[in-house]
Amino acid sequence: MENNKENISCFQMFFFIVLATIGEGILSFPNLVFKDARQASWISILITGSIAIFLALTYLYLHRRFPRKTIYEICIVMFGKWVGRLIIVGYLIYFFLICMSINRIYMETIKNWILTSTPASVILFLMFMLGIYLGKENLRMITRFFQLCFWIIIFLMLMNLGSFPYLHWKYLFPVNEVSFPDILKGSRRSIPSFLGFDSLLIILPFVKGTMKSKVKSSMFSIVFIIFTYIYVMLTCILFFSSKELILIPQPILYLFKSITFFGVIERLDLIIVSLWIVMMMTSYVSYIYLINMGFCTLFHLKKRTIPTIIITVLVYFLVLFIPVSRESIVTQFKLITILSFIFSSVIPLLAIILSFLFHRKDMNEGEPQ
């Protein structure tokens, strides 16, 4: 019965993946990527996106071999009870770090842009409350909410159209001036923005539908993400000169700051930053969900209220009391990039290889409904 409420359709999975992914990075990634890849930044994003597609395909392949198991359960099957559990703990720490980074970015952006005199504890408290309120729910409820939030992305993209009269196409050229290693460096910097599609590893067993429609849905969601990022990247490159774009940390907000909505509403950045909280919150909640599932596998829990409270309280206090410096953010970013390499690509690939070697698969359990 519990499992029944967990199921979502392939169509709903699209929204989960998109909103779990787009969020934390979208304000700052044009600046980060541009620092290295310059006018070829969109190529960097394309490269990262292709890697994401490749990884998603491997996840789907893994899912085909173990149709009813999340990556946590697969780890226990493939690596044995103790090593498997250790890996699960690793996953949990990795997801937890992302939760922290989401909260930190959220807190700092809000504090710098709109609520300058509000104490950080209050700003974080909002996310804390939202995290508990939605995080303890099952996948179906979370996805329903994500479906509502999806329109915000479309809305942001439409608002972006206001910048079109001010775009300079010549900023895009010459592309070949950028060396290939620089493009790769740029794509490395865009990795944190792409994190979130790896939730496929956990949610795939709960998705109803044929393998074909699962592949279609997950591919379509990643393509949508790539498209969104390239669209944002391109408007930023074309709107700002290269000197500006290197300096400003949140190019999108600066872009919206300088355009108006038909002259009726100015300072669109304030509205955009408020709406962006929704996308941060969806990413946060999706990670809370992933951690919850890990907790449930580790301790055989049924209810998610307790793990949710533990996670949100920990995130709240750690983000609030660990002092922030420019370097600690950079190291956190680097750490997440390295961890994401391990947990999003190495371990799933290893699991596939091992399952090949030992001919371990779950197919005789029958297709999931």
Binding site: L115, L126, M141, T143, R144, F145, L148, S274, L275
Partner: protein
């Protein structure tokens, strides 16, 4: 338990039976007993005078009893509805339903003849749900008459009506569940039946109380069961596979399961051209957002984010705010509370005096409060638009809920500006998404998205285009139209 039923069985002593009846209904002035002795047979009739039809009692029962021959049975009395029982409990409840109980000689059975006559008012259009064009009748306070009105519209044996006797102790109320058997999902019907029969309340049952017992979440500000007094609305919902619950003695019919958007549908939408109908829908949904968020957006802008407005507008608003001595949130609260007071007063007063209240409240307070610099001009405008847009909801209950919700939003905006509004809306939306009405997601078809249901939600398409019924009630027969005009292919 078995002893009790034994004690309730009718004795084979005529006088003892009449005695028992008299004891039970002692101190009831309109309880009548009449004993006849005709051709050596003792026949007694008992009934409550005020709720029985005298024509039937006199002409059909007393008259016929006098004509009885030796071997004629009481069952031969020429009335449509006569039943036999040997249990006093059944007789008691029968008499309270207006029936006449007939005891005969020393036999241990009694006959109940249906002669009930309860007064009802005549049918007229409900005041709270007026429409422009369409049918103008409404329900009344009689279960039978209400079912009569519905059967007039839906003439098929598939319209099932079950009567459940709900209550506790000896106080029960008749509740009827209506559904179309070939459309409604039996699982949902069973769920409704189960929840209704589980009610244990020793108090009179009204639709409001019934709903609080059976709804999924009592702590939500949103009504999860649609209450209406309009037969056309009930008919349309029954056709969508939903279930109507009628309660004896109430003109309100409850419809379930419903979604949030059911509250925004009005029979008017279908009686006007579809373009206009769609436009009205959009206006109403816009009204939802305005009435929840307009005061809070205004407060957020004037107290946090002046920058959002163009320069000329800022000077206008600033000049009107200049002499108001307190923050905008206090202004908004004063005005919202005044408005709620006015509204409540206007409802309680008779119609002729309500106009006085409107003039005093609207004109006198409105202008005086601005001239006294207690509230700014712009705030009056904002609150007025908010109030008007909250009245666009076709169902009164939902309109009250959303007005109530504007208060937390005002506080959120006063504390955190735009961020507060966004966070407030997120809580609201998460709540809406979490709600379920009898297994149906409350905020469908937006969360979860169901494309096939969008045709009758935000807009409404021409009716011949609506191929399927909405999926809220999980109807077993989804198809309702071919999707074409039947004559279009004839090459006319």
């Amino acid at each position: 338990m078995s002893e009790e039923t034994l004690a309730d069985t009718i004795h084979s002593d005529f006088h003892l039976n009449i005695q028992t009846m008299n004891n039970t209904f002692s101190n009831i002035h309109d309880f009548k007993t009449r004993v006849f002795e005709i051709k050596e047979r003792k026949i007694g009739i008992t009934y409550i005078d005020s709720i029985t039809n005298k024509d039937i009692v006199n002409g059909r029962i007393v008259n016929e009893i006098y004509k009885l021959d030796y071997k004629d049975s009481i069952v031969d009395i020429p009335v449509a509805n006569i039943s036999v029982t040997d249990n006093f409990k059944k007789i008691y409840s029968g008499i309270m339903d207006g029936k006449v109980a007939i005891f005969e000689g020393n036999s241990n059975i009694a006959f109940l003849v249906d002669t009930g006559l309860f007064e009802t008012r005549s049918i007229r259009e409900p005041d709270s749900e007026k429409i422009v064009s369409g049918s103008h009748d409404g329900f009344v306070e009689s279960l039978n008459k209400n079912i009569n009105i519905l059967r007039n519209r839906i003439r098929t044996p598939n319209l099932k009506s079950e009567i459940l006797s709900v209550g506790g102790g000896d106080i029960t109320t008749n509740v009827s569940i209506l559904f179309l058997e070939n459309i409604a999902n039996q699982d949902v019907v069973n769920l409704v039946r189960k929840r209704i029969s589980s009610i244990n309340l020793e108090n009179n049952l009204t639709p409001g109380k019934l709903e609080e017992f059976i709804e999924d979440n009592s702590f939500s500000p949103f009504p999860q069961i649609l209450e209406t007094e309009r037969p056309d609305r009930v008919t349309a919902n029954l056709m969508d596979g939903r279930i109507a619950v009628l309660v004896e003695g109430s003109a309100t019919v409850s419809i379930l399961p419903v979604t949030f958007f059911s509250f925004y549908q009005s029979p008017d939408d279908y009686n006007t051209r579809f373009i206009l109908g769609s436009f009205l829908r959009i206006i109403r949904l816009l009204g939802f957002f305005i009435s929840i968020s307009l005061p809070s957006i205004y407060i957020a802008i004037v107290s946090f984010h002046y920058e959002v407005l163009p320069y000329e507008l800022v000077t206008n608003i600033k000049s009107s705010l200049e002499y108001v001595p307190y923050p905008p949130v206090v202004e908004a609260l004063i005005m919202q509370l005044t408005l709620e007071l006015l509204r409540e007063a206007a409802i309680r007063l008779p119609t002729s005096m309500a106009q006085t209240v409107a003039i005093v409240g609207g004109l006198v307070i409105g202008t005086a409060i601005v001239e006294a610099n207690l509230v700014s001009n712009t705030m009056i405008i904002v609150i007025a638009i908010t109030a008007i847009s909250s009245f666009t909801v076709p169902i009164h209950e939902m309109s009250s809920s959303i007005r109530l919700l504007s208060f937390p939003m005002i506080f959120a905006a006063a504390l955190l500006g735009l961020v507060g509004i966004v966070v407030g809306f997120m809580f609201l939306m998460i709540h809406l998404v979490k709600l379920e009405s009898f297994g149906a997601p409350y905020f469908a078809p937006l969360g979860p998205i169901r494309f096939s249901d969008l045709k009758d939600t935000i807009i409404r398409v021409p009716y011949w285009k609506m191929k399927t019924r909405p999926s809220t009630a999980k109807p077993i027969n989804e198809k309702q139209s071919t999707g074409k005009k039947g004559w279009a292919e004839d090459g006319e």
